[in-house]
């Protein structure tokens, strides 16, 4: 489930108290650039590993985490909020008597961590009594002492606050000058300093960075009471502040002049375009419902991939572990064995935890497995799922896929979606080439409304910008478009994917799963793709 509101998901809008509650404690911006000494983390980890072994655990892993976030929230000429937060602590997971146990503490002392390990072992032994089959952990080689860092060029946490505020207020002024009635812009920065150690002999220190710069422009026609918004076309990324450099190499200009973005974002340019396009939306004609050939920009397709491919291929959903919340899946183990025809031969979809710039990229996952890239759908046929160490044996794998994640030291790690992406087409094909071949279609840019059932069959998606295509030409901007799909039919209606020169990623900071719910971050790449004969509905209504 992709969360609709990051403020709600982050806790900024929750609580029944007088002051807002944050993820972790608020700290000074200067503290965002510091790290905990690796030797200290190793000492804490060894205390947990030793205590768990003495208490009778057959396996133990320890995560010493420092999770940093910074939010800068603005509207028009105002800075609404600036918050920097930190959450530190240790999570200990063990296997004892064949069952899992977990415990966590925010006290960073040898004694507290050892106690957490003993408690986790006691919980595991208690759980073992009602366990029907012992945990089977796929082997993972110990890697000794290693480290990994997101390859950032400019650590966003180290950029002075004034520079961030100036950037956002400049963006807001540009949008207002271009005719926006209102504009909200936000910077949201994340740094996960994660240290993982396990009884397999791994001590892995990772420094993971992410950045997101969403904006919303609103245009209002007071006389008619009509209003329209246009969201920014950026994506959350696994990058540093260099993502906001606005480099020419990051710009992808569509045949009708809309600028889309890859590994670099020009926020001001996009805000100006958003202001103009939001005003155009107020006057755009409404769509005639019916069947259309859809040409989907990567800034849109990521969310369709996320909902209709990423989620149904999660093994825990396939097995039924998420039945009460996120749901199950139309995909079954039999469908994998039978190489189910998930899509047309144009459709090859890969999972990849190593991709540069992606939100899911790490060196090792949260159970110490070295990350990799693997096929999920090859030439339209379903070939694999997403599995972690205690699930691998269920689908006959000898190793985990390396997609285990916990959103905090205090939460237990579990299977999460890796980056799942549609491979670029092998034949040379530009967006202009693709549109030239469409007789009656709609070109959709940006993600909008999204909803899918609990088994991932029936989905409906909107977008930010819709353009009518007639006889190979983009004719006009239109409004009130949403398309409805049945997952396998939709992917089998894919008749073409543009080549790698058009490849870009979109993604989410807030993919929710589990009870209690945890969020995860994930990217989805694609090139512009065409889907024939898709059902489009008109979403305009009248309140009388």
């Amino acid at each position: 489930m992709h969360r609709r509101d990051f403020l709600a998901a982050s806790g900024l809008a929750l609580g029944s108290g007088v002051l807002p509650t944050f993820l972790g404690r608020a700290i000074a911006a200067e503290e965002l650039v510091s790290t905990i000494d690796v030797a200290v983390k190793k000492r804490l980890a060894d205390a947990a590993l030793n205590a768990a072994r003495s208490a009778g655990a057959s396996y133990c892993d320890v995560r010493v985490g420092r999770y940093l976030r910074q939010f800068v929230i603005t509207r028009e000429k105002n800075v609404e909020n600036v918050v920097s937060t930190e959450s530190t602590g240790v999570g200990v997971r063990v296997i004892a008597d064949g069952a899992w146990g977990f415990s966590a503490s925010n006290e960073m002392t040898v004694d507290a961590v050892a106690n957490a390990a003993k408690l986790a072992t006691a919980i595991a032994k208690a759980n073992a009594k009602s366990q029907t089959a012992p945990v089977q952990l796929a082997p993972t080689p110990g890697v000794g002492e290693v480290s990994w860092r997101t390859p950032v060029k400019k650590n966003a946490m180290a950029v002075p606050l004034k520079e961030k505020v100036d950037l956002l207020l400049g963006v807001n002024a540009a949008a207002t000058d271009a005719g926006a009635s209102f504009v909200n812009s936000i910077l949201f920065l994340v740094n996960e300093q994660k240290y993982f150690a396990s009884s397999d002999g791994s001590y892995i220190d990772q420094d993971v960075h992410r950045i997101w710069a969403p904006l919303t422009v609103t245009a209002i026609d007071k006389a008619t009471g009509k209003f329209r918004t246009r969201e920014g076309l950026s994506a959350p990324m696994g990058m540093g502040f260099e993502y906001l450099d606005g480099a020419a190499s990051g710009k992808f200009v569509s045949p009708n002049g809309v600028v889309n973005y890859g590994l670099s974002y020009d926020m001001k340019e996009d805000a100006i375009a958003a202001a103009k396009q939001a005003q155009a939306k107020l006057k755009a004609p409404t769509v005639k419902p019916g069947k259309y050939d859809l040409v989907l920009d990567p800034s849109h397709t990521w969310l369709t991939i996320h909902e209709s491919v990423g989620h149904p291929l999660e093994l825990d959903r396939v097995l039924g572990y998420e039945a009460n919340y996120a749901g199950t899946s139309f995909v079954t183990l039999d469908k994998v064995k039978q190489r189910f025809q998930y899509g047309s031969p144009e459709v090859s979809i890969v999972a990849d935890k190593t991709q540069y710039g992606s939100l899911g990229a790490v060196g090792y996952d949260d159970e110490g497995v070295k990350t990799k890239k693997w096929d999920l759908i090859r030439d339209g046929k379903l070939v694999d799922l997403e599995a972690i160490r205690d699930q691998a044996h269920i689908i006959g794998k000898s190793a985990s896929d390396g997609c285990c994640y916990a959103d905090n030291w205090a939460n237990v790690q579990f299977q999460r979606m890796p980056n799942v992406s549609l491979e670029a087409g092998k034949k040379k094909q530009s967006v202009a080439d693709m549109i030239a071949g469409v007789e009656n279609g709609i070109y959709i840019i940006g993600d909008g409304s999204f909803s899918i059932d609990q088994q991932r069959y029936n989905a409906q998606f909107g977008g930010q910008l819709f353009y009518e295509i007639k006889n190979g030409k983009i004719t006009q901007q239109i409004e009130d478009v949403a398309y409805q799909i049945r997952t396998p039919e939709f992917w089998n209606a894919c008749v073409g994917v543009c080549d790698a020169s058009d490849y870009r990623m979109g993604g989410s900071f807030f993919d929710g799963k589990g009870q209690p719910s945890q969020v995860s971050t994930v990217s989805h790449g694609s090139s512009t793709a065409r889907f024939n004969g898709i059902n489009v509905i008109n979403t305009a209504r009248s309140l009388g």
Partner: protein, 444 residues
């Protein structure tokens, strides 16, 4: 340490406020003990207890605000938190929408705490999971569920002499019951402040009945139907709509409650005259804290009366700017109804569809609050006052504003928890005309 008494909390807060040299200071202590148990495939999967406590300090120098939080309460730590907040405030940009701290208030306590709920222990949780699983196993069905319970307190004080303290408790139980072949699925949810009335072995029967009865669902053509939405099904649409009862959004022209030419729709007939929404922090069984996020006292007040908009939410800044009196923003939503149960509504229905639960509701068009989402875990065709057969799930595209103009009948409100809303809600089952289903889903 996680649940402090009023005296303990007051002593710490008084010390913190006195330490600050800023123009004003607000300090808040919160503490909670939350327990949970999760089960799936008829086995317990995870369980845990999380204790937490925090002190947040917010200070202001003029219009510059700084906040710091800490989870240690010795004198040195308290002083460090105050100084850190002061340092941050000095560096912060001026907030032109700054409103000074709330003046001294008198809060009337609300019954948010139940000793029975606070006493829930690991054995109780294991029994809830066990009762659910045992009953399902006996019927050859598969249970996946979650019980979450908690107790907490909030205490705050500021340099203007304001002070508040109150404890709270809550529990939420949900269970999805599926047939072994995956062709049937049912659900039950129970949200309570006082757990004494809860019995998993009774409630699970609802999930079991729906799972068994939903096998072999038939496909009906999408279109406009008379529907009976059970309270949990209606709550998702209604709570979504309440996000747009913000006065500033309406006044700025970007809400369905904005008026053509400017201003908002307070006083206008927007819904069927039978629609009545109120907020009341002291409502029995649905009580919430007597203050809102900013410490403003909440009041018992109408939101929609006889279908007309009566009150929108004003932030303190927007109230000041518009010359309105700022009132605490509601923490609950009480929708009035009648006396009939869902079963009574079914008995009075010639032809219609019963919707047990709605899922993945998202905004399609904020101009009309058009929402899309799906039915799940028990959708049935009703004919001549009886459930005739299960039907396949539908996707709907419907606006709660239009839906609440198409009322046939309202039943007796019950307490429900929103999947994605923090509001405590009392919502009736409702029989509605012309509810718009736009496609079928194969999902069970």
């Amino acid at each position: 340490m996680s649940i402090l008494t009023e005296e303990q909390a007051r002593a710490i807060l008084t010390k913190v406020v006195a330490l600050s040299k800023a123009d004003e200071c607000t300090a808040q202590l919160t503490g909670s003990i939350d327990g949970n148990i999760r089960f799936a495939l008829n086995n317990i999967s995870t369980s845990g207890v999380i204790t937490n406590s925090d002190l947040a300090v917010q200070v202001a120098f003029g219009k510059r605000v700084g906040t710091a939080t800490i989870n240690q309460f010795d004198d040195a730590s308290l002083e460090r938190a105050v100084r850190r907040a002061e340092d941050l405030a000095r560096l912060a940009p001026e907030n032109p929408e700054f409103v000074p701290a709330v003046a001294k208030q008198v809060y009337k306590p609300s019954p948010t705490f139940s000793a029975a709920t606070a006493a829930i222990d690991p054995e109780y949780r294991a029994k809830v999971a066990g009762d659910s699983i045992t009953a399902c196993k006996a019927e050859k069905l598969i249970a996946a569920g979650f019980l979450q319970d908690g107790q907490s307190y909030v205490a705050f004080a500021n340099s203007k002499g304001n002070f508040g303290y109150q404890r709270a408790s809550s529990m939420d139980y949900t269970c999805t019951v599926r047939s072994e072949d995956g062709r049937g699925s049912g659900w039950v949810g129970r949200s309570l402040q006082d757990s004494s009335a809860f019995s998993a072995s009774t409630d699970i029967r609802t999930g079991i009945r729906k799972a068994s009865a939903s096998v072999d669902a038939r496909a009906l053509e999408p279109g406009k139907y008379t529907v009976i939405l059970e309270p949990a099904a209606a709550a998702g649409l209604i709570s979504f709509m309440m996000n747009f009862f913000d006065a500033r959004q309406a006044d700025e022209g970007r809400s369905f409650l904005s008026k053509k030419g400017g201003g908002n729709k307070v006083g206008e007939q927007v819904y069927d005259p039978r629609v009545n929404f109120t907020a009341d922090p002291w409502a029995p069984g649905a009580a919430v804290m007597p203050w809102d996020e900013e410490g403003l006292p909440r009041e018992a007040m109408p939101i929609i009366k006889d279908g007309k908009i009566v009150n929108l939410n004003y932030s303190r800044y927007w109230a000041q700017k518009q010359g309105k009196r700022a009132v605490g923003s509601p923490g609950n939503l009480l929708m009035a109804g009648g006396t009939k149960s869902t079963a009574d509504l079914i008995r009075g229905t010639e032809r219609g569809i019963l919707v047990s639960r709605t899922w993945y509701i998202r905004m399609v068009d904020p101009q009309t609050v058009l929402l899309t989402g799906l039915t799940r875990d028990g959708t049935f065709y009703i004919e001549n006052g009886e459930i005739k057969y299960p039907v396949k799930n539908f996707r709907f595209n419907e606006s709660p504003v239009i839906m609440l103009n198409n009322i046939d009948e309202l039943g007796k409100p019950v307490r429900v928890a929103g999947d994605e809303s923090s509001l405590v809600m009392m919502i009736p089952p409702m029989k509605l005309r012309d509810f718009t289903f736009t496609s079928l889903s194969d999902a069970v």
